[in-house]
Amino acid sequence: MRRGTTIYLYELFWILPSIAIPVGMLVALVVFTFGAGVHLPGDHGRVEPTAVLATPPFDQPGTVQVGPGQYEVRMVSGIWSFAPNEIRVPAGSTVTFVAASRDVLHGLFIPRANVNVMLIPGQVAHVTTRFDRPGEYPFFCHEYCGIAHHTMWGKVIVEPASKADRHDGDSAS
């Protein structure tokens, strides 16, 4: 810290990059966030934790088409299952999950679709993702929620777009 000494120069040579590195990473992070449109879960209002099942849209859990290629999954989590726990959408769909917990903390984690949100009693979770490729996308509860936490899961089944059109006549597999 005493100017002009060798140690001072060493310190300076280290301090300047130590500032530049985190600042550079921050700029990259912010540019990417706005450039690629990454959204974190934000504030989407409350739901009374004791009355989740009586509050729309959670009184009718399920998958609803809300527009061309647009789906909304209304999901209720509780020990130790998701409702619904099997979701079918055609490839290329944009899906918004509107989810809540009716008891303790849970989490909704779909690793292959980059969905990762906490389900907190009292809060409405709201996340949107896109399923382009057909296949199965498992989702897990990733917050400890009691003795059978490890059995709480489900899957999104993304069907080839053409097959999905005929889906209504199918008796499922």
Binding site: R2, T5, V104, L105, P111, I120, Q123, I147
Partner: protein
């Protein structure tokens, strides 16, 4: 020094530190032992039926593992070690030995109170105890008493410092004592969130005085403390790296002023960063999350300063011992000393933990790894190695110092340190990769119906690494126990305080003042947390009922 260097008798301080160490190491013994069963379970070897009379489930064991290792072992070790360091470096007794002992008994009483429901499966809520899971009230009251006891440690350190300052008005505070004081002052500010959660929410709720609680408010208060608590664990390891390891390495601390700058930045920046644990929480605005990410990158700066200072100090030691070249000096460090070997090895793994931490703080990437096994891998490098292995390294000289007995076996100590290093590298690497593949954390994976095919090749490495860590820990405890009871050779040890190449006289005066830094710390907390906490507290109906789900 205005008074003669007649060193006062600090034997009572030694006894106090020894008492804290005993509780810390017993807790670590139980906590680490349970880790073995978790690691084996992941590889499909379920030994929990054997533990049934005591441990009722995977999650019961996991709760004990977390609470004992990261809350109890750390807090007791730090309280004992930093009071010791303060008295030794100021060369005066603690301000009030009666208070210091009362603090120890309060902390131990709190631990016992919390341990009763924890051991009895009435607090299987993991060390984060998120409501609305509801544990027995004694668990919350006990942990709160432990926190209150840490405040009394702060009081002891502050009053000891003031007593020293009154007699030494013009002298720079010796670095070890000054760092210990910064650590506890930082912790006291940081612990207010946890204290508020306990006093206003968890305790009245668990006692049935209020009907409901709120999960989000509790999480915000918890993580207000939950991130800086990792600096409360880490800074004592840094104190060893800055003020003791350079001497053990045969050299000097590179720069005393740079060390002070980094600790002051930790004091200022440790707390307003907690939302980076809540990036995926609904109910908190994205802008506030972005601000906390900014501050988190800010707190990376003092870590980089520390990295530089420590490596430069080690290099100074390596060269003083005849080392040459750009990196070859590293081999000249006294690798035969288990205390130094353990701490340098822990630094190496910590570098990876630090880089992983930047990924966690970047919210775009946080979406990939939040609540996955990646996080488990991350904090086993940081608290599980940088902190735990460093603390073990400290005890390789501290326990002989306190008992007056030579370390029972240096070679056993060296084997222990390397085994921890290799075992942790294996386990943590597997956990990081499993997290990237989407494996959730804190989950009884061996019993999960959804194990993905790509996880299967990595899960055995969790068990292999975990087993090596268990063996390493048992070697450690055996060595400590035998040092205390069986070692016959008398130890002649002095506390290895290091000198500095650039000493405190080169530090700007502002670094020795408290008020500006404290004001800055509080201001940043008010900016980062104020609006969100005020909004939540004024608009939240506390109506969530409790559940026992284990």
């Amino acid at each position: 020094m205005t008074e003669a260097d007649a060193a006062p008798d600090l034997t009572p301080e030694n006894r106090l530190t020894a008492a804290y160490l005993v509780v810390a190491l017993v807790s670590l013994f139980v906590g680490v032992s349970l880790g073995l069963f978790q690691a084996l379970e992941h590889a499909g070897i379920d030994l929990y039926p054997w533990l049934l009379p005591i441990i009722k489930s995977y999650y019961h064991g996991l709760s004990l593992h977390g609470v004992l290792n990261v809350l109890v072992f750390t807090t007791f070790f730090i309280s004992g070690f930093l009071q010791f360091i303060t008295a030794r470096s100021l060369r005066i007794p603690l301000w009030n030995r009666g208070l210091a002992w009362a603090t120890f008994w309060l902390m131990t009483g709190g631990l016992i109170l919390a341990a009763v429901p924890l051991v009895g499966n009435a607090a299987t809520v993991l060390f984060t105890f998120y409501p609305p899971m509801k544990a027995h009230w004694a668990f919350y009251v006990g942990l709160t008493l432990v926190v209150v006891a840490t405040w009394l440690v702060t009081l002891t350190l502050v009053c000891t410092y003031r007593a020293w300052r009154a007699r030494n008005p013009e002298v720079r505070t010796p670095l070890p004592a000054w760092m210990a004081l910064v650590t506890f002052v930082m912790w006291t500010i940081a612990s207010l969130g946890l204290a508020a959660e306990m006093l206003f929410m968890m305790i009245p709720w668990s006692l049935g005085m209020v009907a409901g609680t709120d999960a989000l408010v509790a999480r915000v208060l918890f993580w207000y403390t939950g991130h800086p608590i990792v600096y409360f664990w880490l800074l004592p390891a840094y104190i060893s790296w800055y003020t003791l390891v350079p001497r053990q390495a045969g050299g000097k601390l590179f720069s005393d002023p740079l060390a002070r700058v980094s600790f002051l930045l930790f004091l200022v920046l440790s707390t307003p960063v907690g939302f980076h644990h809540q990036f995926t929480d609904p109910g908190i605005g994205q802008g506030w999350k972005l601000l906390h990410a900014f501050f988190t990158f800010g707190v990376f700066f003092p870590s980089l300063l520390t990295f530089f200072s420590i490596v430069a100090s080690l290099e100074n030691g390596g060269r003083a011992r005849g080392g040459r070249g750009w990196v070859a000096w590293f081999g000249k460090l006294p690798w035969g000393d288990p205390s130094l070997a353990a701490q340098v090895l822990s630094m190496i793994l910590f570098a990876f933990g630090g880089i992983g931490g930047l990924i966690n703080a970047s919210f775009t990437m946080n979406l990939v790894i939040h609540n996955t096994a990646w996080i488990v891998g991350h904090f086993h490098l940081t608290v599980g190695t940088a902190v735990a292995l460093t603390f073990m390294g400290i005890t390789y000289w501290l326990v002989p110092f306190l008992t007056g007995h030579q370390l029972w076996s240096r070679r056993l100590g060296l084997a222990q340190a390397w085994l921890w290093f290799i075992g942790m590298a294996i386990m943590s690497h597997a956990q990081h990769r499993l997290g990237l593949m989407g494996m959730p954390r804190r989950t009884m994976i061996g019993a999960a119906p959804y194990v993905q095919p790509e996880w299967r090749s990595l899960l055995p490495f969790v068990a292999i690494g975990g087993t090596m860590l268990f063996v390493s820990a048992m070697l450690y405890f055996a060595n400590m126990l035998l040092t205390a009871v069986a070692s016959r050779e008398a130890a002649v040890i002095e506390v290895p305080f290091a000198e500095a190449l650039s000493g405190p006289e080169h530090a700007p005066v502002i670094l020795d003042r408290w008020r500006p830094w404290l004001v800055l710390a509080v201001a940043l907390i008010a900016i980062a947390y104020g609006p969100t906490i005020i909004r939540l507290v004024t608009t939240t109906p506390f109506t969530t009922p409790g559940f026992r789900v284990w």
